[in-house]
């Protein structure tokens, strides 16, 4: 049986923009970007390329080792800072120059006249990044690939890209089991769901748009004691109301925010959700039901499974995981071993069969999880 290629997965998903997010340095993110952009271009699609922040440097910023460059195919649209383009940028048809300038100058959008290695430097904020993705689409890019990383995670935000490819590899850990576990944890986090109750979801989204940390209070109903209640209320009776706080973040004021929780059923956080906030929320002796609603999974900055129910206002769509079995430090393992180990651990942790591929060796696992009794 011939399994689909990464470009098949992207095309099949219908996503107009895909973030490639690495779990660590040297996990093959750039190789994946190059592979995917070449494969999509080879199938006649116009691709767009942009980075969240700075990546694609000639040498790795941490290790000083030579790194592969982003090599957009001929005809691709790219967005990057004028400071890294060189004066003439002879390979680029310049079609737009932004008004605002960053440290490396204004953002230039152009079309590659020939395939050349480039350094991509893009905006860090999700809002700016989303605008650039839209501009690249306007210019004619059919699929925009956004280079991201776990520390530059705006790329994966559903407000920026439609879908995500996660890159992991031997550079993340020297132990294959740990690579698989850490990857599975990210997948688990990115699998967070929206609240099942559509009313709660609608109120949470509105609260997030307001930019204020808010509580959703249950509106008391005769005969109903629980907020989840298959209540006695008629269908059109609102069961929750939004109570906005003066806080626009929970960072540094976790306890203060939670002290206002009262009898709330949910706390909706428009920005980053820290481990400390979740611990405080769990540690407080609330009624038996209290949950957090974050903007999307990229807003969660945690290293372990949240201790209380966490929902998101917008889900992430994870298309595939790519692996790089070779680490920058010299450790490597068999590509087959790595795709299988990651696939297995992701399945064990999340119950999901996410395609795992090594674009260099061509090894892949689409869910034929070894050693597990499926079903």
């Amino acid at each position: 049986m011939k399994y689909p290629d990464l470009s098949d997965l992207v095309l099949g998903s219908g996503a107009g923009s895909v973030a490639i997010v690495g779990t660590a340095k040297n996990v093959g993110k750039t190789v994946t970007m190059n592979y995917l952009s070449a494969a999509l271009a080879g199938r006649g699609l116009v691709v767009g390329l942009v980075s969240s922040g700075r990546d694609g440097e000639v040498t790795d910023a941490f290790t000083g080792e030579p790194k592969p460059s982003i090599v957009p195919p001929e005809g691709a649209w790219i967005a990057t800072a004028e400071g890294v383009l060189g004066e003439s940028a002879g390979f680029l048809e310049i079609a737009d120059v932004s008004e605002k300038a960053g440290v490396l100058g204004r953002l230039v959008i152009g079309r590659m006249r020939e395939s050349e290695p480039v350094e991509l430097v893009g905006p860090q904020s999700a809002k700016e990044l989303a605008r650039v993705v839209e501009r690249l689409h306007d210019f004619g890019a059919q699929v925009v690939l956004v280079d991201g990383a776990l520390d530059r995670v705006a790329a994966a935000s559903p407000g920026v890209t439609d879908a995500v490819v996660l890159s992991t590899g031997a550079s993340a850990h020297s132990d294959l089991a740990l690579v698989a576990k850490s990857t599975a944890f990210v997948v688990e986090l990115w699998s967070l769901k929206t609240p099942g109750d559509p009313d709660v979801l609608a109120l949470a989204r509105r609260a997030i748009e307001s930019g204020r940390v808010s509580f959703l209070d249950e509106i008391p109903l005769a005969g109903s004691s629980r907020h989840d209640g298959s209540s006695l209320a008629p269908d059109n009776t609102p069961r929750y109301r939004v109570r906005q706080t003066a806080f626009d973040t929970v960072l540094g004021c976790e306890e203060k925010v939670l002290s206002q929780a009262g009898e709330a059923a949910y706390v909706v956080v428009p920005g980053a959700v820290s481990e400390k906030f979740l611990a405080e929320a769990e540690g407080m002796e609330f009624r038996d039901s209290f949950a957090v609603v974050a903007k999307d999974p990229t807003a969660l900055f945690v290293r372990s499974e949240p201790p209380l129910p966490v929902y998101v206002a917008h889900e992430i769509r994870l298309l595939a995981i790519t692996v790089n079995p070779v680490s920058a430090g010299g450790y490597s393992c068999e590509p087959r071993e790595m795709v299988d180990a990651v696939s297995l651990e992701v399945y064990r942790s999340t119950g999901k069969r996410i395609p795992v591929l090594d674009v260099v060796s061509g090894e892949s696992n689409f869910g034929e999880v070894y050693g597990v009794a499926v079903g």
């Binding site: 592969p68 079609a95 120059v97 008004e99 260099v360 060796s361």
Partner: protein, 542 residues
């Protein structure tokens, strides 16, 4: 958002113009009339030909700021490719704006018509159609074209050479080098590792715990080609630099026209924003008198307040009044719109002097040197609200020699009532005597007798009519009417009244409407009527 913040040019060029504008002052009447005539004329044209303005806005919103590039030209420095793109884009935008202007029947102020940059457009965007893009085209330099062609040919030869070599590796090892031209062989496959080590096509690059990695080595021919390609690339970069240098030199001859065009587009953008507001407000050109005369306002409104009122489903009542005395007094109930009326007068006059058609159906006035508005001020750190008020009044008095529109809102409200009233009366008297021949003072107060004491015109908010306050007992028991009821029944118009007009019992009526206990209201009414032993009738100045 303030009205000034709402004036939001589409381009950074428009924002530059906005940041440089200044109000017109006494002595500049003719200039202001001409400026307002332009706005009026364009706002009328906007209503007739909205498509024209929409097309112009579509161009303005895409403008790039070319001033950095223009500075580089003035300093005789070479431009980078992005800078040249910005100028190419400017030339392209100028072409579109000129074409829209030429095809329209609108009379455009000459300063908003950018000079033609057609030669610049042709030079920087040769043979292009559609959205502008700039690149160092082969057509700029036959030598560059030749070098590029040669480099590409050599690159193809190099790829062919390496492909041939990779094919040889595949034939011998059964695998082809992959991404980065690398091939990794598992150490346990000792025979293959040894074979690879002996192959001249491969070089060992690293060894890991499990694998030995080899990279495809360039052949002698490939190395020769690499050197050639590198040399050609250097030459190409040099020639591209030369193209940028001579394009920059060509553009230098156009620097004044480029700058003029940029400012013209900025002026156009800013002027369109003024015309757009005039259309939205259905505003009229004001009458500006050269000599000091009355301030006449017809059908004026405060855009922010009107939006707020209409947003809650209310009906906004415009303001009309004629101020023909150096000092006039406004009284009215709480929630009666006194502050909003003062703000509306100040806003209309200020906007007109800043070159906007004011939000009213008619304005006649003489230019002022300044507009002073002192609403209720929160206390500055370390100062009570009254002390802050006094400090602000002192600042006002430093400009006593200039002609000002002075809008005072309940001065002295934050201190002892009798002394506050005395102070207010004294301030108004001082202003009348020292600045009455040139300035206009409009002062709001709750002290009904202030106007008659100073013998100045008295404007009163029409307020609630006595019947409005007739509440059902059940209303009061239920906490009274809500604020919306008050909004609906309050008559915000200013009515000129004489000294004999009875003092309306507005405060008590508002308290009653809002549901304060009936017993308290009744007792208060007795006090006002003199039935109690309370000496609260302090509505006459001391």
């Amino acid at each position: 958002m303030t009205i000034w913040e709402r004036v939001s040019p589409k381009s950074s060029l428009g924002r530059r113009v906005k940041s440089r504008v200044e109000p017109k002052l006494p002595g500049q009447e003719e200039e202001l009339r001409a400026e307002l005539r332009e706005v009026s004329s364009l706002s009328e044209a906007w209503k007739t030909y909205p498509d024209v303005f929409s097309k112009l806005d579509n161009v303005l919103v895409t403008l790039k700021d070319p001033f950095h590039a223009i500075i580089l030209l003035k300093e005789e420095r070479a431009l980078t490719a992005p800078e040249i793109f910005v100028l190419a884009h400017l030339a392209f935008s100028v072409g579109r704006v000129r074409s829209v202007m030429a095809e329209s029947k609108v009379k455009w102020p000459p300063r908003t018509v950018p000079p033609s940059l057609d030669p610049v457009e042709q030079r920087l965007l040769p043979g292009f159609a559609g959205q502008p893009v700039f690149y160092i085209a082969d057509s700029y330099s036959p030598e560059l074209s030749r070098v590029r062609t040669e480099r590409k040919a050599k690159e193809k030869l190099w790829r062919d050479e390496m492909t041939k070599e990779a094919g040889e590796v595949e034939r011998l090892l059964g695998r082809r080098p992959g991404i980065r031209e690398e091939i990794a062989i598992r150490k346990t496959n000792i025979q293959a590792v040894e074979q690879a080590r002996l192959m001249p096509e491969l070089g060992e690059v690293r060894e890991t715990l499990t694998h030995v990695h080899f990279r495809l080595k360039a052949t002698r021919e490939a190395l020769r080609l690499e050197r050639e390609i590198s040399r050609l690339r250097q030459k190409e970069t040099h020639l591209e630099g030369e193209v940028l240098a001579f394009l920059s030199a060509d553009l230098r001859a156009w620097k004044d026209q480029l700058e003029k065009a940029a400012w013209a587009l900025g002026e156009l953008d800013y002027l369109l924003r003024k015309a757009e507001l005039a259309v939205r407000w259905d505003a009229r050109e004001p009458v500006i008198n050269n000599e000091t005369g009355p301030l006449v306002l017809e059908g004026a409104f405060h855009p922010g307040v009107r939006e707020e009122v209409e947003g809650r489903g209310g009906k906004y009542q415009p303001l009309s009044l004629t101020i023909d005395s150096p000092v006039s007094v406004v009284t009215g109930p709480n929630m009666g719109g006194k502050t909003a009326s003062l703000a509306t007068v100040g806003l209309c006059v200020s906007l007109a002097q800043w070159g906007f058609l004011p939000p009213c159906s008619g304005l006649e006035f003489s230019l002022y040197d300044y507009v002073y508005f002192q609403p209720e001020t929160p206390g500055k750190p370390g100062l009570s609200s009254f002390a802050s008020e006094v400090v602000a009044l002192k600042e006002l008095l430093t400009r006593i020699e200039d002609r000002g529109l002075i809008l005072l809102d309940e001065v002295g409200r934050g201190t002892n009532p009798s002394q506050g009233l005395a102070l207010y009366a004294a301030v108004l008297d001082y202003l009348r005597k020292r600045a009455g021949d040139r300035s206009t003072v409009l002062a709001s107060t709750h002290y009904h007798g202030l106007a008659s004491h100073l013998d100045v015109p008295h404007w009163q908010v029409a307020g609630l009519s006595p019947g409005d306050g007739d509440l059902e007992e059940s209303d009061a028991a239920n906490g009274g009417k809500d604020i919306d009821w008050l909004y609906r029944h309050m008559d915000y118009r200013l009515v000129k009244v004489g000294p004999d007009t009875p003092v309306p019992q507005d405060a008590l009526m508002v308290a009653k409407v809002l549901g304060l206990h009936g017993e308290i209201i009744r007792r208060a009414e007795e006090f006002v009527a003199g039935a109690g032993r309370c000496e609260f009738r302090r509505d006459e100045p001391c």
